[in-house]
Symmetry: D3
Subunit: 149 residues, 6 copies
């Protein structure tokens, strides 16, 4: 059985962010089978706060986090910022450094540890392109943030 | 044809870092077909410089970069450091912050742009776990660095 | 005598930032007795520059620094930015990371060292909450910057 | 009643780190009354990892965190690193920048929010001096890290 | 012969940024003699992206880089950002930290290595003042970024 | 008269760091004429703290700063660290990122402002190469730190 693979919440989140429609179905059916929560979205902006907001909004709308609990939003927020470090590689900034990003993001919430008491964790994966505000003048970027929730 | 997919050098590098043996074969046969260079390795350390060294060494040994050209080593170095930003998320440091990392890394060198004149680029993908120097007290981390070469 | 305690300019500044009215009186009478200069204010913003400006303005208005001397403004500026590192913990940024801060700040200027020749130093203490732009979805933060003036 | 004051877990942690023996008693009796967990220690080092280790060790020994749960150690770790940002103000590094720190630290774990569902949070406060490895050539520094646990 | 001196592309770029008219002529005739490309400009702003844009624009207009090749713009971009690290010393940010910069910049593209295969490199030098948005309340700053192109 | 030029303490420091013997004489006679203090040294290391120490030691030995006053050492220290930001461009770290630096540094202390009350300032300029611990696999780097003293 591929149980161990399934538990790699970060890898799952990145595969899900990468996935095109066909692959997505098999990934999500697996996540559903494990009773994990998940969601996926897209956002493009020169303003980093819009990317943070887009991820937070999706997580709330899809019921991945409880929007009324600061505890959960705090966990998600730090996971998002950690993911954006991978995308921005140095300064967590876009427009102020004259660059823009077009990203797909995936959020997965589940129990990645064998020990039940480790409880739930959240993974935020971000994948897309970053570069000059000129079409095609951009390269890929990826980020992953993981937090206990 | 999946040409467009193939050109996503960063995604390719991450998939390659993720890949277990079986999947690896199909990925690398694809990379070979495109005449791209690639390699893969493993490293675990509390000393970040050992991770940088391991990636550089593999790239040189596998002929992914020309070890006698600073130009190529410079390109690789910056790609590695950018990838490590995703892993470390804030401070590019491991032991000095009492954490350790166990990582698989993949390097891919090829021509990701349709325009031939864009030439060769290099992608360094890093995937594994980061955490306390205590077995199991760690979570996943990922990083991607891309540079023109 | 509590002379030694008094000389802890950073601790004094933080206690002063924490202080509610009653406690404030005993703190400031102590500072006055030592001929130290001090002031206190409040500011809430998603724009970090407004926080810097609020602290600078108060320092100038209260005569804690000489607004006509760059030397003193330079010292104050670096103390403010150092204090904001404690508040922001990683990236000296608020709105661009979709977070806001509601802060009380205190500035103290005096001679914290026994050796008279060490002259005057300035401490900027900042205390309050940082978090999402949603009431209650925030936690405390503190920062302290100290500089020779 | 000063209930609201008591809930300021970050301020409590800093006051506790500041406190000399006499004041400590009243602070801790208050924390005990609320069923919060707490502990306090001292550490001086040019090696940042030793400071992290000292705080982790105390938290484990005093039963503030469960040393067998990564979830709790992860929460504590990030709170420590956030606190060290306030102390180091830019680069989370000591000896590598030729500076040393002598610090008192306090850890408080409790329920700072009125809403019961917000659960437990942890605050790590650090206070002391930072400077050249020369006695007296140092100034105060403070840091606070807060995390859900 | 001063060939070796000439090859110091970074020093050349900084001298060129420093140079007033008279000195400029001897510097640029030297650069021309070596078939190196170069250009110089001025920019003042509280918005860092405007500084990046001004440097990019000059490089494109003067033919120092090929504006149709992302490869070259990517190399230039990273050189600019590296140079701005020297100017900003910590956070690559201006207005958001309530500071402004008035800068002269120079770009030099050439072959600084004896080994022909090392090919072309680009140096971006930035020199000027940084400080409060108050005339005279500013001090000098310098930055240098170098990249293979 | 070139008085205004002379007052550019940062540019002076960098020119002095660049200067070979012949040019040095005219630079320093100018600095002497203005009663400014100055000194120059060399250091190569993978350990950043050794570079900081080398600059501090020279400043003390040459009487540029008073080694018995923390106030002056504090001013110098922050100027050095600011200068090292220009050299390291992101992470103030060398060996931990598998890179080494070979640097010349110059320290200048004087009164760069027309207004006498602005008093003394210190400039630390650093120039040299940074790169892999392999001869020739390095490029130039520069840094400037300026502080009131
Ligand atoms: Mg973590
Ligand atoms: Mg790039
Ligand atoms: Mg200091
Ligand atoms: Mg937080
Ligand atoms: Mg480089
Ligand atoms: Mg300054």
């Amino acid at each position: 059985m591929t149980k161990e693979f399934d538990r790699k919440i970060g890898q799952q989140a990145i595969m899900y962010a990468f996935a095109e429609e066909e692959e997505e179905a098999s990934l999500t059916s697996e996540l559903t089978r494990m009773n994990w929560r998940y969601g996926k979205g897209k956002v493009g902006s020169m303003e980093l706060q819009k990317i943070v907001a887009a991820i937070e909004t999706l997580a709330k709308r899809q019921g991945i986090v409880n929007p009324d609990l600061y505890r959960e939003m705090h966990s998600l927020y730090h996971a998002i910022i950690e993911a954006m470090h991978g995308v921005t590689r140095g300064q967590v900034e876009l427009g102020g450094m004259l660059r823009t990003a077009g990203l797909r993001f995936a959020i997965v919430r589940g129990k990645p540890f064998e020990n039940k008491e480790e409880g739930e964790w959240i993974a935020v994966a971000v994948y897309g392109t970053i570069g000059a505000p000129v079409r095609g003048f951009e390269h890929e970027a990826v980020g992953l943030g993981i937090n206990h929730i």
